[in-house]
Symmetry: C2
């Protein structure tokens, strides 16, 4: 299994509309991507703190899509890339870090 | 639910022994932390690429612990912190980014 992680750095002065992200953008993303048979799950998270008490999180938000293979993700995502990427300015001006991971242990 | 994310930056020249991490360090971590009733799951991953084909991942490895609350994680982790943190030099010289997240959507 692979996991596609989309990480939004906690950039000083950046804009991030959590209500729009969690209530509109992500539900629409999940609706579109979960239609592919390779879709295995998703997690959407808000950073609340760093390692030491009271410290800021490195990332404001994270989203992780689980797919059977990286090709499955690309097949699911590419047809909807214009809509989903075009929606990003509606909630943030942060450029996210995107990474593909191989899942070694999951339980 | 909360997720504690431990991210190992892909630092040039850094050392990371994946065999030791995945076969020894993480199984021992999971054995110790999963004994707490607040433990809800774990995922261990290896970064394989970035957003563009052939690009390097931002993180060599990620580990995510799911717990009912952040306090549950601390109660589970603190008694074993000396052993687990003391084991880190056995697989890496990278200082990980640690972050606590509130899980908004999980399916």
């Amino acid at each position: 299994m692979v996991k596609i992680s989309i990480l939004y750095p906690n950039t000083p002065g950046a804009r991030f509309d959590f209500a729009y992200y969690a209530d509109t953008h992500m539900p629409r993303s999940i609706e579109l991507l979960s239609a592919h048979p390779g879709f295995k799950g998703v997690s959407v998270e808000r950073g609340v703190g760093g390692a030491t008490p009271g410290s800021a999180p490195a990332y404001l938000a994270m989203c992780h899509f689980h797919f059977s293979t990286a090709d499955d993700f690309l097949q699911a995502f590419m047809p909807h890339a214009p809509e989903l990427q075009g929606d990003m300015p509606n909630y943030t001006d942060i450029e996210p870090i995107v990474q593909i991971n191989e899942v070694l242990i999951s339980r």
